[in-house]
Symmetry: C2
Subunit: 243 residues, 2 copies
């Protein structure tokens, strides 16, 4: 089955199962195991979201042995899951479907609370940035980003992935109602912390602490220390996975 999920990641140590930690994948797998009378069904998720990161459009697949129809299984999962994880859709798909490998593009959104005082209703879901941001400088930097390139300057130092080339096809800043702005990034894949490092760098540029020239240099040298800081996890949402 293919399972489309939305979650508030605040209370979780990310998507991926980790011993002794509460994770999204772990919570779902434990529930499936319970529903299947002890039989395990490992899940594969399209995006391995970090601790505190949210999702509106996470996609996972699992080989389930239950004979429920799709609607009934989706309903059973939703009823038994905590309120911060929701099954948006569940359907039987081709057994060859691989939620991770078949993903053609992912869209992440980074939410910024622009209110002066900080909106308590966004505290779990956005980074509070009350200071002035130069929109023109940010737009100028956003133009530089799209393309197929090595993103070494925008990934966690510990990242052990060898191929760091990804094709970024969308990098935008949009207004989302009064008091909120959002970065939107789409790529064929993202490295660990890549979106948060991009958001952190763009915010430094908006604040006048970095320049688009420095951003270009970071991209060219592939040196993480030349890019801006990794923005807090709570602003990040896995918005959509395209197949």
């Amino acid at each position: 089955v293919r399972i489309d999920l939305a979650y508030d990641g605040t209370a979780y140590a990310g998507w991926q199962v980790q011993p002794g930690q509460r994770t999204i994948q772990g919570t779902l797998e434990a529930l499936l195991e319970r529903l299947q009378g002890g039989e395990r069904s490992p899940l594969r998720g399209a995006g391995r979201t970090d601790a505190g990161v949210h999702a509106r459009g996470q996609v996972a697949d699992a080989l389930v042995t239950l004979r429920h129809d799709d609607a009934r299984l989706g309903h059973a999962l939703s009823r038994l899951l905590p309120r911060d994880i929701r099954v948006v859709a569940l359907r039987t798909v081709d057994p060859a479907f691989d939620a991770r490998r078949d993903a053609r593009a992912k869209t992440y959104v980074y939410r910024i609370d622009r209110s002066a005082h900080g909106d308590p209703f966004l505290a779990r879901f956005a980074l509070h940035v009350p200071w002035a941001l130069d929109r023109e400088r940010i737009e100028e930097a956003l133009v530089v980003l799209p393309g197929r390139r090595d993103w070494s300057a925008f990934t966690a130092a510990a990242c052990e992935v060898e191929d760091r080339v990804r094709h970024l096809t969308e990098a935008r800043l949009v207004d989302a109602g009064p008091g909120e702005q959002r970065f939107v990034f789409t790529a064929d894949g993202f490295l660990t912390h890549m979106v948060r490092a991009l958001a952190g760098t763009l915010l430094e540029i908006g604040r006048g602490r970095m320049t688009t020239g420095e951003l270009r240099a970071a991209l060219e040298c592939g040196d993480r220390t030349l890019a801006g800081p990794t923005a807090a996890a709570r602003g990040l949402v896995l918005e959509h996975v395209r197949y």
Copy 2:
């Protein structure tokens, strides 16, 4: 000083100080006491919100002894408060100002998540109502509500207020983007659980389990058992206080 506050009430046992409980008023008073080197400044809040109820426009007053200017004090409070309580504004006012008694009208909003699966980003802030609601039946019932009357049928059984007459001036259902609807109620004052009982009753009417006739009967008899259930606290927000 007059302090305008916004808060996510999920983690609090309501506005009012209660021994051994974490409350909004208690958190603020403890912080003021700390800033004033042990000197206490009791707060008066316009609305005594219940456990789990939120606010965008709560207003409180306090006699502070700090010699900070308003902006600096507001800033100091905001920096030291947890992220789920925010000082939206702080200003010196006439010493006669009483946030509770001087309030001329209050507006409460009750938020309803109308998505099929339940939006995890609204789980703390809205009641999930996935079933069909008959908008026409609700609108018909909303017309009956405004006016100056005894609201005994819409208050907690334990409510010991003697005067249960309040003047309701606004009762509406509005669409708030895709997947969300909101009840909006304005009155010169509200009884304990009044908005939640109104929301619960209107949802029963929308679902076809109660009629506007039964609503009228409840209003006339003042019998709490004739009205609908008290809707969950998490959907309720103190939106605005007018002076």
